[in-house]
Amino acid sequence: MRPLKQLRPEVKAAREDVIVFAVGGYKLAIAAGAVKEIRGMEGLHPFTLGGISTQITKLKYTLERNGSTYFVVDAAQHFQLPASNVSRVMVLRNMPTGVLVDSTDRIMEISTLHGLPPVFTHEERGWYRGLAVVNGQVVPIVNHSAFLNRPELEIVRAGLERVRGVVNA
């Protein structure tokens, strides 16, 4: 039998603060630097732009903050989980995205980021930056730019432009 140490896993030393949050009974974490604000559900407006809502069904609300519009995504739907009891919105930094989650827990520091094992081959490869192990518990670190990726943001922006064009015509 071969000793484990002969295999070199993909592990990055990455001391970083992350915010632990819960979705559908799972604990996940996001880079603390990627989150601008954590707030309650107040001030959310249902997103009802027909063509876009059917293309990006996880996009549920918009939120106006300091003159900016944030598009709020249901994290449970993003991770293809059953509907969960959302109570908090994480407003992301440097992108017009908010994320609906069940709860936020604590900020903690991780020291290493393990690559997602290559045998995971489906959508999760885009969902996560990697896995952290904290007190023996595995916590996926989410890829925050995947909640609304660039093509999805293009669809949203193009849809909004179309609506504004119709209103102004």
Partner: protein
């Protein structure tokens, strides 16, 4: 000493049947441990184990090898398999204790599933040698 023409295999049970992995690919038989899960969409994978600081994916091959009626898995056989260009550890849940044997290959008949790389004749029993990487790659990329 292993007789000429024979190789070492680890036999593992899945319910009433036994299968084999080449012994050189097996790193350890782990006692029941808590599988940790997180959202994902890859078939067969039930989660990951943490073994000595390493994250080891758990691949429930019983679903393919014996179907959904396999009894509860009791141990994890941790084996080295090639996923893409890399060698990776993978934990295979098994339903009982494993056995190290030396045996010679019996020629394949040609009608075996593609993940069977050889068969062994052990007493009255014919045991399929599983090419873990073929099985996992075929199922997880489905």
């Amino acid at each position: 000493m292993i007789p000429e023409g024979e190789k070492s295999y680890v036999l593992f049970p899945l319910g009433e049947r036994r299968f084999a992995l080449p012994a050189e690919t097996v790193t350890e038989l782990a006692r029941p441990d808590s599988v940790q899960t997180f959202p994902h969409r890859t078939p067969l994978l039930t989660g990951v184990l943490v073994r000595r600081g390493r994250i080891v994916p758990v691949c429930d091959v019983a679903q393919v090898l014996v179907g959904p009626a396999a009894p509860p898995r009791k141990f994890y056989l941790i084996a080295n398999c090639k996923i893409g260009a890399r060698q990776e550890l993978t934990a295979v849940p098994v339903t009982g204790e494993c056995e190290l044997v030396s045996a010679a290959n019996v020629p394949l008949k040609g009608n075996e599933p593609p993940y069977v790389s050889a068969t062994l004749s052990i007493g009255d029993e014919t045991v399929a040698v599983v090419a873990l990487e073929k099985l996992i790659c075929a199922e997880t990329t489905a």
